[in-house]
C-alpha cells in the first residue's frame, strides 16, 4: 500500500522529537535582539509595536539590547517612536532604492546590517514584507527561520528562543528551536503578541549605517500603486462573520449594519461564500483568510474545524447560534443561543442607541 501522506507529516514530527537530545549551541559573537521596523508610506507598521513588546521582554531577561533595523528613504524621524516603544538602538539605513518596499534591495540591505552587527535573534511581523524577507535572509545568511509564530518563550540557560507555531490550521501547535545557527529568525503573527507600551520620555541611540546598493539590485519595478479602500481583514480589530445560518443576502446586510456599529468588517464561512452571500475574499478558514482580531462575532456559523482554522486565535469570540451543541461553543467566550433574526435587530438597535446617547 502506498504510504499515507499524513504519515509523512506526522512521523516527520516524531522523528524530529527524537532528534533534539544534546543539541549544541554556538552563539559565538552574536548578540542583541533585533526587530525589523517595517514601514509603509512613511509610517511604522502596527505590527512593529507587537514584535517590540516581545523583544523588550526577552531583552530584559537576557540582559541584551533591543535594536531596530529601520530601512527606507527619509525615515530617520521614526526612530523617536521606536525608542518610545522600548528600543535601545535604532540602526538607520537609508537609500533612495529603499523608498518603496521591494524584496531584492531590502534583502540586500538587511543582509549587510546583519552581517555587520550580528544579532542573536531577529523578529519580523508576519506581514507581506516579513514573509518575503525572513526566508530570503535565512537563505542568504544560511540560518534558520520559523514563520507564523503565535507564542514564544526563552530557554535562558541555552539562550534559545522557543517558537510556537500553529500547523494544520491552528489545530496543532508545535514548538521549534533553531539550535545552532544565528541569528534565530522568526515572523510573529499579527495580533498574537501584546503591543509594547508607549513612553514618550524614553530615549535611545541612533546608529546610521551606510549601505552599498548597486543600481541593478532592484529587478522588479513598481509601475503603479493604489490604495485598496478597505483595511484588509487580517488587520481589522473587529470581525462580524456570517455562515449558512444567515439564510441569504438580507441576513448579510444585517451583519454589515452590526459591523459598522462595531467599527469592524464582515467575513463569512465557505458555505456562505458558496451560497453567493459573500465574496470569496471574505472567506475565513483553512482555505481562506487567517485572522486574529480582538473580537470575532460568529453568527449562524456552526464552527467547523476548517472555519476555526482561520479564526481560533481571535482574542474574544462571540457566537449567535440557535443550536446549543454547535462546535462554535467550544471556542466562544460569550454568546446567545437563539435565532439571529431576533437577536441582531435588538442588538443593532441597542448599539445605535448607545452611539446616539454618546453624542
Amino acid at each position: 500500500m502506498a504510504e499515507n501522506p499524513w504519515d509523512y507529516y506526522l512521523s516527520e514530527q516524531e522523528a524530529a522529537l527524537a532528534n533534539v537530545a544534546g543539541t549544541l549551541n554556538t552563539t559565538g559573537g552574536y548578540r542583541n535582539i533585533w526587530v525589523f521596523a517595517e514601514t509603509t508610506d512613511g509610517f511604522l507598521h502596527d505590527g512593529v509595536r507587537e514584535i517590540l513588546g516581545k523583544a523588550r521582554e526577552l531583552g530584559d531577561m537576557l540582559g541584551t539590547r533591543v535594536q531596530a533595523a529601520l530601512l527606507g528613504h527619509n525615515v530617520r524621524q521614526l526612530a523617536e517612536d521606536l525608542f518610545s516603544y522600548g528600543c535601545d538602538t535604532v540602526l538607520v539605513a537609508e537609500h533612495p532604492l529603499l523608498a518603496n518596499y521591494l524584496a531584492e534591495p531590502y534583502t540586500n540591505a538587511l543582509c549587510q546590517l546583519v552581517e555587520r552587527y550580528k544579532p542573536e535573534i531577529l523578529f519580523f511581523s508576519g506581514t507581506h514584507q516579513g514573509e518575503e524577507l525572513a526566508p530570503r535572509l535565512a537563505i542568504q545568511l544560511g540560518c534558520g527561520v520559523v514563520a507564523d509564530v503565535v507564542s514564544l518563550d526563552l530557554d535562558d540557560a541555552e539562550r534559545l528562543a522557543r517558537f510556537t507555531r500553529s500547523t494544520f490550521g491552528d489545530r496543532v501547535l508545535s514548538t521549534s528551536i533553531i539550535p545552532q545557527l544565528r541569528p534565530q529568525i522568526a515572523c510573529l503573527r499579527i495580533g498574537a503578541f501584546r503591543a509594547a507600551g508607549f513612553d514618550r520620555q524614553r530615549r535611545g541611540e541612533i546608529a546610521e549605517v551606510p549601505l552599498e546598493l548597486a543600481n541593478d539590485c532592484a529587478p522588479v519595478k513598481i509601475l503603479k500603486e493604489e490604495p485598496l479602500t478597505a483595511i484588509p481583514l487580517e488587520e481589522t480589530k473587529v470581525i462580524v462573520a456570517g455562515g449558512k445560518g444567515m439564510g441569504g443576502a438580507p441576513g448579510f446586510a444585517k451583519l454589515e449594519e452590526l459591523a459598522k456599529l462595531l467599527k469592524g468588517q464582515v467575513a463569512a464561512t465557505r458555505s456562505a461564500v458558496a451560497a453567493g452571500w459573500a465574496t470569496g475574499d471574505r472567506q475565513v478558514g483553512m482555505q481562506g483568510r487567517k485572522v486574529s482580531p480582538e473580537l470575532y462575532v460568529a453568527v449562524g456559523i456552526a464552527g467547523s474545524l476548517e472555519h476555526q482554522g482561520g479564526m481560533n486565535t481571535a482574542r474574544t469570540v462571540v457566537a449567535i447560534n440557535r443550536d446549543p451543541d454547535a462546535a462554535i461553543w467550544q471556542i466562544a467566550s460569550y454568546g446567545v443561543v437563539g435565532d439571529w433574526q431576533e437577536i441582531l435587530p435588538a442588538w443593532i438597535a441597542r448599539l445605535s442607541g448607545l452611539l446616539i446617547s454618546k453624542r
Binding site: A2, N4, P5, D7, Y8, L10, S11, E12, Q13, A16, L17, N19, V20, E104, E131, E132, P135, R136, A138, I139, Q140, G144, V145, A147, D148, F168, D170, R171, V172, L173, T175, S176, I177, Q180, K221, K224, E226, P227, L228, I231, P232, E234, E235, L262, M286, Q287, L295, L305, V317, A319, P324, Q330, S333, Y334, V336, V337, I343, A346, R350, L351
Partner: protein, 262 residues
C-alpha cells in the same frame, strides 16, 4: 515560454489527533490533496501557455505516493511531471524544501523565458516561505501575492494584492511568481483528461539524482528542530445567554464594554 509550477501535497483537512500519553501526533487515514493555491498557479500557467505557447512542467517534493497529485496536474493540462521523493527528505523545513526545489529546477536547465510559479502559501503550514526562499536561490526576480499576470515580449507584469494596497509590478523574464486565489478559478479536468493523465510517465528523482546527500536535507540538514507538538489550550467554556432578546443584548454589551467605548 518555459513554465515550471511547484505543486505541493497537503493533507486533506480533518481531525488531527495527539496521543495524550506521549504528546505525539497519531497517524490518521487521510488523502493527500494538491495545495489549493497551487491549483491557481497551474491554472495561470495553462492560460498563459494558451496565449504564448510553451511547456508546463510540474514539480513536487512529496512522499512516495505524491504521484497521485501529479496526475491531477497532468489532467488539468501540465505537460510533464517530476516527483522528487526520498526517505531522507523527511523532516525538511522550509529552507531545505526550497534548496531541494532549487536543485531540481536547475537540473531542468536554464531558460531565458522561464516563469517559476508557486502558490502563495500552503494550507497546512501556511508559511509562504518557499517562494521567496526559492527566488533567492535561483536568483530570479520575486513577484508575490499575484492576481492577474500579463506577459509582453520579455517582460512579465502583474497585479500584487497587498494589505491595503494594490501594486502593479513588472520584471524581465525569467522570474518567479507566487499566485493567490484572486487570480482565477482552476479548471476541473474531465474524465478523458484524467484517463490520459493516468498513462503519462512521471519522472522520479531521488536526492542523489539532485546531487544532494542526507546531510543536506531532512532533519539533519534543517536549521530548525521541532521540540514539542501539542494541542492548543481549550478556551474556558462559553458564557451563554438565552431568553428575552433585549436582556440578552444588554448582557452582551456589558461583557463587550471595551469594544463599544473608544
Amino acid at each position: 515560454m518555459d513554465f515550471i509550477v511547484c505543486w505541493k501535497q497537503v493533507p486533506e483537512t480533518a481531525a488531527v489527533k495527539l496521543n495524550s500519553g506521549t504528546g505525539v501526533l497519531m497517524r490518521a487515514q487521510y488523502q493527500g490533496i494538491a495545495n489549493p493555491e497551487d491549483r491557481h498557479a497551474l491554472e495561470m500557467a495553462i492560460q498563459l501557455k494558451a496565449r504564448h505557447g510553451g511547456t508546463i512542467r510540474v514539480l513536487t517534493m512529496a512522499p512516495e505516493n505524491g504521484g497521485e497529485i501529479l496526475r491531477q496536474a497532468l489532467a488539468m493540462g501540465a505537460d510533464e511531471a517530476y516527483h522528487i521523493t526520498d526517505p531522507q527528505l523527511r523532516g525538511s523545513d522550509a529552507t531545505v524544501t526550497a534548496r531541494v526545489l532549487a536543485k531540481a529546477i536547475r537540473k531542468l536547465g536554464e531558460s531565458p523565458d522561464r516563469l517559476v510559479m508557486l502558490g502563495r502559501r500552503s494550507s497546512d503550514g501556511a508559511t509562504g516561505m518557499v517562494g521567496p526562499a526559492l527566488s533567492l536561490l535561483l536568483d530570479l526576480p520575486l513577484l508575490t501575492a499575484l492576481g492577474q499576470v500579463v506577459i509582453d515580449q520579455e517582460r512579465v507584469s502583474a497585479e500584487q494584492w497587498l494589505a491595503g494596497k494594490l501594486r502593479q509590478l513588472a520584471a524581465m523574464l525569467p522570474a518567479l511568481l507566487t499566485i493567490t486565489r484572486q487570480a482565477n478559478t482552476p479548471r476541473l479536468p474531465n474524465a478523458m483528461q484524467v484517463m490520459k493523465a493516468a498513462r503519462k510517465p512521471l519522472v522520479v528523482w531521488s536526492i542523489a539524482d539532485l546531487g544532494l546527500t542526507p546531510a543536506n536535507v531532512g532533519h539533519d540538514g534543517s536549521p530548525t528542530r521541532v521540540v514539542r507538538v501539542f494541542y492548543p489550550e481549550k478556551r474556558p467554556k462559553a458564557e451563554i445567554f438565552t431568553g428575552d432578546p433585549e436582556q440578552v443584548v444588554a448582557a452582551l454589551n456589558t461583557r463587550l464594554g471595551r469594544f463599544l467605548h473608544g
